[in-house]
Assembly symmetry: C2
DNA sequence: CAACTTCGAAAAATCGATTTACTCATTCTC
DNA sequence: GAGAATGAGTAAATCGATTTTTCGAAGTTG
C-alpha cells in the first residue's frame, strides 16, 4: 500500500477539459463523436483522455436524460438452462446497443415480480423484458401499463393489447409431439402440467389435444394439472398412478414436470421407453447423455431473446402501432425415451 | 391512450418539497429517516409523498456519493444450476442491504471478464463478486487491484493476498469421494478435468489422490486433463478408452466433465454402475431422477454466497486487515451410479 | 441582559455528465 | 458590402438527489 493509489478519485470530464485546455462541453462532444470540433482540439482531448485514463461515467451520463440506458430483465428463476440462456442472450444484446442489463429473479412470485418492477421503475429504466410468473394479465403487466413503462413480455404469454409479446409456439410444438406419439401407436396418453402458468399451458394442452384427436379420434388423453406448485403435482401424479392408470406415454408441459415424471417412474421401477414413453417441453443438456436420452421440445431461446430486444428497442425509440404477438417455432427432438407401446424393445414390462 | 398519462414526468424531490411547503433538504432528511425534523413537517412531507407517489431516484441518489449502492457480479456463465443459484442468492443478499445487483456473464472468457469489470468500474460499483473463469491470478483480479476496486473472489479460487476468497472445500470433498470409492473396492480410477480452471482443479485432484493413495497405496489413478475446453476433453477421453483402458470408476472434477463422461459411456454401451462407476463434482436436479441416479459433490451455494457478501460488505464499510480465504464444506451424495467393481448389482440393466 | 447553545430549516454547493443559449469569427449570398 | 448562414467553442442551466453552510428563533447561562 505504499502508493496509496487506491484512494485516487477518478478523472472527471472537467479534469480532461482543463488538461486539454478546452471546455467540458467540447470534451463531451468529442466523446459523443460529434464532428463540429476542430481536429486539433479533438486530438488534444483524446490525448488528455488517454493520459488520465478517462471514461465517461454512465451514471452521470444517464442522469440528464429521461430514458436511461438501462434495460431491466425479470425472470421467474435463474436456475434452469432456459432462463439462464435467456439472460445471457439478453445481456449480450443490451450490451451491443450500449445498454446495461439489470436482471432480477421474481422467484416464481407475482408479488415479488411487482416489487422488482417498481424498483426498476425507480431506476427509470428505458425498458423491461418481463417473463411473467403466470401470464400477461398479472399485476406486473398492470403496473407497467399504469406507469407508462415500455416493455416486452416473453415466454409464458400469448398476446397482449398493451405490450409486444414473444414466446415459443407452444401449440404447434405440442401438435407435433401429438403427431409423433400417435404415429408410434400411443392411444392412452397422460399430459402433466402446472395450471399456474395458465397462458402457455392452455396453448400446449389444446394444441396437443386437438392434433391428437384429429389423427386418432379414439385416443384417450388424461390430464393431471396441479394448480399451486410442483409438490402438489407430484402428489396428484402419484395418486393417478395409484389408481392403476397405465398410460403408454406421458407428455410433460414444462421442465419440472418432466423431472417429477421421471422420479415417479423411478419409484415404480418403470423404465423408458419399455414401460412408458416420455416427452417433455423444454430441453436440457443432460437429456441427451442419460440412458435413455429424454425426448424434448427445444425452445428457440436466441430467437425469442433477439425478437424481444428488437421489439423493445423499437418501442424505446418511439415506435408506435398496435402490440405485436410473436410466436417462434420450436424443434421437437424425439429421443430414446419414446418408443411404441407393446413393443418392448428388449423385454421390459415385467412386474 | 385517452389519458395520455404515459408521458407524465415522475415527481421529483422538489415537487414534494413545494407541495409540503418545505425545502428539498427537509424532504431528503425525512426520506432518510433523520430525526431532526419537526413532526408536523415530517407529517406534511409524508402526505405529499403519498399523494404524488414519490419515490427516491436511486440513480440521482447515488450520484453524489463516491461508492454507489450497486454491486457487480461476474459469473463464467448463467446456464448451470450452480451459477444460477449463486446469482439468485447474491441478488437477494444485495437487495436486503438496499443495493442493486448487476450481474454479467464472462462466458468463460478472461478477456470479456476484464471488459465487464472495466464497465463496472465505470459505474463506480461499491464492490464486485467475481467468479473468475480461471483462477485468482487472472487479468481481472489484476485490474481490480490496479484500480483499487473492492471485491471478493469466489468459486474457482483458493486464496489471494489482495482479495477475500470464498469457495467450496474441494480438497476435503475430493478426499471423501476417494474414501468412498476405495471403500467400495475400486483400484483403478480415472479422474477427468479441465486444466483451465487451474486453482480448484489442482485442489480437487490433489485432495483425491492423496486420500486415495493413503488408503490404498496400490490404487491406480489415471488423469485425463484437457487444457483448452470441453470438446478436447471429450476427444482425449475417447482416445483414452480406445486404448483399451478400463478403469472401474470415473471421478469428474466439474459438471461438464460428468456430462461428457456419461455421453462417452453411452457411446460404448456401458451402464452405471454395473460396467463403470461415476461421481461428479457439482450436483444438479436431474441427477437424482435419472436411472441410475448420479453421485455428486454438492457445493454449498448459500454459504458461499452468504460469506462472500458478508466479506464484501465488511470491506465496503471500510474493514481493514489481511485478506481472508474461506473454504466451505461440501456434501458428497453417493447415489446409484457408484457400485463395487465386479459386483453386477442385480435388478438393473438386463437385456 | 448580553453571550452562548441548540434546534430546525432553508439556501447553496456538489456529484459528473449533457444540452441549451449565446458569442465571436468566418464564409456565403445577393 | 450588408446581412444571413455556418463553424467552433464556451458559459451556464439542468438532471434529482445529498450534504454542507448559513441563518433565524428559541432557550440557557452567568
Amino acid at each position: 500500500m505504499a502508493h496509496r493509489q487506491d484512494q485516487q478519485r477518478r478523472a472527471s470530464i472537467h479534469d480532461v477539459a482543463s488538461r486539454a485546455g478546452v471546455s467540458a462541453a467540447t470534451v463531451s462532444k468529442v466523446m459523443a463523436g460529434v464532428i463540429t470540433v476542430k481536429p486539433e482540439n479533438a486530438q488534444r482531448v483524446l490525448e488528455a483522455v488517454e493520459q488520465l485514463g478517462y471514461r465517461v461515467d454512465p451514471l452521470a451520463s444517464d442522469m440528464r436524460r429521461a430514458k436511461r440506458r438501462i434495460i431491466g430483465a425479470i425472470m421467474p428463476e435463474f436456475e434452469s438452462e432456459f432462463f439462464g440462456q435467456m439472460v445471457t442472450q439478453l445481456e449480450g444484446l443490451a450490451e451491443q446497443r450500449g445498454y446495461t442489463l439489470v436482471a432480477a429473479s421474481s422467484r416464481e412470485s407475482e408479488a415479488r415480480e411487482k416489487e422488482i418492477l417498481a424498483r426498476m421503475h425507480d431506476w427509470r429504466v428505458a425498458g423491461v423484458v418481463l417473463a411473467p410468473v403466470r401470464n400477461e394479465h398479472g399485476p406486473a403487466a398492470e403496473f407497467m401499463k399504469a406507469n407508462g413503462m415500455t416493455g416486452v413480455l416473453i415466454d409464458r404469454v400469448l398476446s397482449d393489447d398493451a405490450f409486444d409479446t414473444v414466446s415459443a409456439d407452444s401449440a404447434a410444438a405440442s401438435a407435433e409431439v401429438a403427431r409423433e406419439l400417435i404415429a408410434k401407436g400411443h392411444r392412452h396418453i397422460l399430459v402433466v402440467g402446472l395450471g399456474e402458468q395458465a397462458a402457455t399451458v392452455r396453448a400446449r394442452l389444446d394444441g396437443f389435444r386437438t392434433a391428437a384427436l384429429k389423427l386418432a379420434p379414439d385416443v384417450r388423453i388424461d390430464v393431471v394439472l396441479a394448480e399451486t406448485g410442483v409438490e402438489p403435482l407430484r402428489a396428484q401424479l402419484r395418486e393417478y398412478f395409484a389408481k392403476g392408470e397405465r398410460p403408454t406415454a406421458v407428455y410433460s408441459l414444462f421442465l419440472k414436470g418432466t423431472l417429477v415424471a421421471l422420479s415417479e417412474f423411478r419409484r415404480r421401477g418403470w423404465h423408458c421407453p419399455n414401460d412408458i414413453s416420455l416427452v417433455g417441453f423444454d430441453d436440457a443438456e443432460w437429456m441427451q447423455v442419460t440412458w435413455p436420452a429424454i425426448a424434448a421440445v427445444v425452445q428457440p431461446v436466441r430467437q425469442i431473446a433477439g425478437h424481444a430486444m428488437e421489439a423493445l428497442f423499437a418501442r424505446i425509440e418511439g415506435g408506435e402501432g398496435p402490440a405485436i404477438a410473436r410466436l417462434e417455432p420450436c424443434r421437437v427432438l424425439m429421443r430414446e425415451s419414446v418408443g411404441s407401446p407393446g413393443v418392448a424393445a428388449g423385454g421390459g414390462q415385467s412386474r
